[in-house]
């Protein structure tokens, strides 16, 4: 029996039970489709986070107060021991020549008002360096003035949302606003930026860092953002920054210095595990589909017992009977797999078009392994029924027993 005849025979047998075949196909298609769609989702989440961090630039160091337990993993912050201060910033700038730019960052939330209008917004305290370090752009006016670190100035740069909420169509430049109990003058408006690292950059007010520290009565900075000259210098810079801060903090390593690589690596690991977990869940539905195939094939064998007897009477040896039923099972699973591939792809295209920020492409390994597993499931779960058929006694089988 040649391959084409085998396929035609198996196909004919499957076509004879349209509904049963369709339902089994559906089971396999759901299994494969689920693997593809869910891994696409996981990969999409990973791509999203990666893009966010890539936007930071790869030669960025982030210093935060407090010591993390392990290096390299996601930071778990311990109790803040010593504050990160503006003097720390000055020391780093002075003693670590690899540092190209440094932007201290203080963060708080305050009520901002202009005339009768008020709005609760996130207030960032920083320096002019924040602009290049975070790849921000000024829309109109100027950014923060280049004053000495510890000298505040009553000026503020506002985000686009803040502008439209407080000023409407009025020109905000030069206008006085209140932040908490303090008065500031608007000198600039940021260009629209949108969400960045979990913060809506359009809904912020940026003031000089020492003003922010005073405003919030904070002893410590929230972060110090450091940009080095080149990506290759990042590890050396990290060590040097660490040394300077350790010295200044009485020999204790009570700060954490993160690199983009380490943060990205941590997220990649977490989200990679998430993708695997999703794939695992989907794989369960694949194996359920495999058992479905086995079930259908067992029913098929017992229904077609006289046919098996006939094939034997016509001269088919056991291995040929085995092949006929195996091909049928594999045909079922392969067709189901292809159908699932199609729906999985269509699903992930719809997904990534509905949420453009989520680059939901199914990873190649998932596609290939889902198809391979579906084929293997057909073969594996088809073996038992096929062997049962091959071993039937021809006389009893002809009699339908």
């Amino acid at each position: 029996m040649n391959a084409l005849d085998l396929l035609r025979f198996a196909w004919g047998a499957l076509k004879g039970h349209r509904l049963r075949t369709a339902l089994t196909l559906l089971g396999m298609a759901i299994g494969v489709g689920a693997v593809i769609l869910l891994t696409a989702l996981g990969e999409g989440a990973r791509g999203y986070v990666t893009n966010e961090f890539m936007a930071l630039g790869s030669n960025l160091l982030i210093v935060l107060p407090g010591k993390t337990e392990t290096t390299g993993n996601a930071p778990i912050l311990g109790g803040t021991t010593r504050p990160l201060t503006l003097e720390d910033c000055e020391a780093i700038t002075r003693r670590v020549p690899r540092v190209r730019r440094l932007a201290p960052l203080s963060v708080g939330s305050a009520r901002v008002g202009y005339r009768e209008r008020r709005r609760q917004v996130t207030v960032l305290g920083s320096t002019p360096e924040l602009l290049p370090v975070r790849h921000l752009q000024i829309g109109i006016g100027r950014f923060l003035p280049d004053v000495e670190l510890d000298r505040g100035a009553p000026v503020a740069v506002i985000g686009r949302t803040v502008q439209s909420e407080l000023f409407g169509s009025e020109n905000p430049l030069g206008q006085p606003i209140r932040i908490g109990d303090w008065r500031f003058r608007v000198v600039g408006v940021m260009a629209a930026k949108g969400q960045s690292l979990g913060l809506n950059m359009d809904d912020v007010v940026i003031v000089p860092v020492s003003s922010a520290l005073r405003l919030f009565n904070q002893p410590s900075l929230f972060r110090i953002l450091i940009e080095v000259g080149a990506h290759s210098e990042i590890d050396a810079a990290r060590r040097e920054v660490m040394t300077v801060l350790k010295e200044r903090h009485d020999g204790e390593e009570d700060v954490t210095v993160l690199t983009q690589d380490s943060v990205l690596g941590a997220f990649n690991r977490i989200l990679g595990a998430l993708t695997l977990a999703l794939a695992g869940i989907a794989a369960i539905s694949l194996s359920v589909a495999g058992i479905g195939i086995m079930n259908v094939m067992l029913v098929s064998v017992s229904e077609r017992t006289p046919e098996v007897g006939l094939l034997k009477a016509l001269g088919a040896p056991p291995r040929q009977i085995l092949r006929v039923f195996l091909v049928e099972a594999v045909l079922l699973s392969a067709a189901g797999g292809l159908l699932g591939l199609l729906t999985g792809y269509v699903g992930s295209v719809i997904l990534s078009q509905t949420f453009p920020a989520l680059p939901a492409h199914p990873p190649t390994w998932a596609v290939i392994s889902a198809l391979a597993v579906s084929l293997a499931a057909g073969a594996l779960f088809g073996v038992l029924p096929a062997r049962r058929a091959a071993r039937l006694d021809p006389v009893l089988a002809l009699a339908g027993r």
Binding site: M1, N2, D5, F9, G12, A13, K15, G16, P306, E307, G309, L310, L311, K312, A313, L314, G315, A316, P317, P318, R319, Q320, P394, V395, L398
Partner: protein
């Protein structure tokens, strides 16, 4: 040439042994026409299955064309069935999803005969049973007699030397039963060894030789009256 020597077939049912065939000695020369008769349960079908290599004797020898086949492994038995034996059953045993032509083609498909040759031989076999115009019909679109003729075309398409028929008219009315018998008798005249199991004395009487089984033993073997 078929030779059975001291052949018996026992079935183990629970702790009981059913002796379906006992000490059968029989020679069937090529081209013979034999009717197997006897009461129900006397072992006719069992004997036919052994002759067709669908079943093996418990003891004794079965020599087919000079070769001991009673103890061959399953794969070689299948080969013998494919090349030398044609079966016709009481219940036709056509595959319902296949057309008449496809049913006739099946033994050649299983034997791996190339498609061009298959088409030719299917056409010839269908012509021989007078069903050329029904080639594309499915079994449920055919009458009982037509179905049995498709089964005969299928049984002979591989060019076997032996045609075994187990009550081939058992499910047919008189007229179509008669046609079927005439058809297979014609094939016997062309050289095919024919063994027919039947309850019908009229059909049995047409055979060259009647073998009567009682309780698994040959009770008489001779020319038709």
């Amino acid at each position: 040439m078929i030779e059975l020597r001291g052949l018996s077939r026992h079935f183990q049912v629970g702790d009981q042994v059913v002796r379906a065939l006992q000490d059968i000695n029989l020679a069937i020369p090529d081209g013979d026409y034999l009717a197997l008769m006897g009461p129900s349960g006397s072992g006719k079908s069992t004997l036919l299955h052994i002759l067709g290599c669908l079943d093996r004797p418990t003891t004794g020898r079965y020599v087919l064309d000079g070769r001991e086949v009673g103890s061959l492994p399953e794969d070689e038995l299948a080969e013998v069935r494919s090349r030398k034996i044609g079966f016709v059953f009481q219940f036709f045993h056509l595959i319902p999803r296949l057309t008449a032509a496809e049913n006739v083609e099946l033994p050649m498909v299983l034997a791996g005969i190339p498609p061009a040759e298959r088409r030719e031989r299917v056409a010839k076999a269908l012509r021989a049973v007078g069903l050329t115009d029904r080639a594309a019909h499915r079994p449920d679109q055919l009458s009982g007699g037509q179905r049995q003729r498709v089964a005969i075309a299928r049984a002979t398409v591989m060019g076997p030397s032996i045609l075994l028929a187990d009550e081939p008219t058992g499910n047919l009315d008189r007229a179509s039963g008669h046609e079927i018998i005439e058809l297979i008798e014609r094939m016997n005249r062309e050289g095919l060894t024919l063994v027919v199991v039947t309850h019908d004395p009229e059909i049995g009487g047409r055979a060259r030789r009647i073998l009567k089984l009682v309780d698994g033993r040959i009770s008489s073997d001779g020319k038709a009256a």
